[in-house]
Subunit: 205 residues, 2 copies
């Protein structure tokens, strides 16, 4: 089993360029270039972890108390992220993305330290692609959902007398907006990671 | 050039299973299977076109007039999809997705009729992947944004006295909800198409 590099029943070595198959086209992605791609993946994952944790912590610290005047009534307002399903959804998704990224970083970090390639097999590559794709879609969903609630808070709802919440609650609204920006940035980074995953999958046969 | 199946400088044929390379793994995706995958792509694209046009037409026909009582005041309500930025966004994205799908269907249809493969080159494959990925993310964004507005209409906003809009406007709300469901279904179909694109990219070298 382990006693020879060439299995005994092959015995003939053809130069790669003369095999008449498309194996040639993937050679630029091997070796050094693949090593660079792996380091780039790890860096992007770490950056994405930072942005999603930032989004998460900005959102969970968003709260403010104030008063608002609707149709002549003074209504005390206490704004907190957990009052909106969309903001709760953003927190949940950001936490899940952070966990996914920490897991991936631990696996690929330990593999890099041992000197083995970060992605062990095609199936592993597909699994990472699927995870990144699903979480990119989830972050896009969470960011969009939260930003449409946040924009309603900013502008009011056009077909009612609902006023602009963000005048009395600008501290809360700013924090939420910044959190949403970081969520979209995490989504953008994950979309780049998806492309890198596909590059890896299309370079390995 | 065309006079021999084996290029003269190879001359040796090795049984595929004994070449000791991973070329074997991609063979099931060639020939007949690839033909099936192409037909499946066209069917999924056609289905996705139907769902996105349905979402679009349900949304642009959503409007209703009614009255609502807020804090003792009778307020006349006229609800229309174009009153909400999120619903306008959904209409725009659905229209863009439908155009993208019509273009892709025209290209791959004419190629299938001529008997050539639907995807001409690796670059073409990457282009289709990029288009499908971007539009899947855009549909997810539009669907989430619209559904968070729609759920606010259903439940009211928890930190204000805003009531449930969908009691007096149930016809409008039902139409919007169905449109959103079709948007998410289009997104799901495009996500499957993305996986098929990646399968194609990873089977061609």
């Amino acid at each position: 089993m382990i006693n020879g590099k060439n299995p005994p029943d092959v015995g003939i070595q053809l130069p790669e360029s003369k095999m008449g198959m498309d194996t040639v086209t993937d050679s630029p992605l091997d070796g050094n270039v693949n090593g660079k791609a792996e380091v780039m993946q790890v860096v992007l994952r770490a950056l994405c972890l930072v942005t999603s944790v930032t989004a998460l912590s900005l959102m969970v610290t968003a709260q403010q108390a104030s008063t608002i005047t609707v149709l002549g009534f003074n209504i005390p307002l206490h704004s907190k992220w957990s009052f909106s399903h969309s903001f709760e959804y953003l927190v949940g998704i950001s936490a899940a993305v952070a966990l996914h990224l920490i897991l991936q970083l631990l696996i690929s970090g330990s593999r890099l330290v041992r000197g083995s390639p970060t992605i062990s097999s095609r199936n592993h590559g597909w699994l990472i692609f699927a995870g990144d794709e699903v979480f990119a879609l989830a972050l896009m969903s969470a960011g969009s959902s939260a930003s449409s609630v946040s924009s309603l808070n900013h502008s009011g709802i056009r077909h009612t007398a609902l006023p602009n919440f963000c005048k009395p609650l600008h501290h809360f609204c700013d924090r939420v907006s910044t959190s949403i920006v970081f969520t979209f940035f995490s989504c953008f980074l994950l979309a780049i990671l998806v492309v890198l995953d596909v590059l890896w999958l299309s370079s390995k046969h």
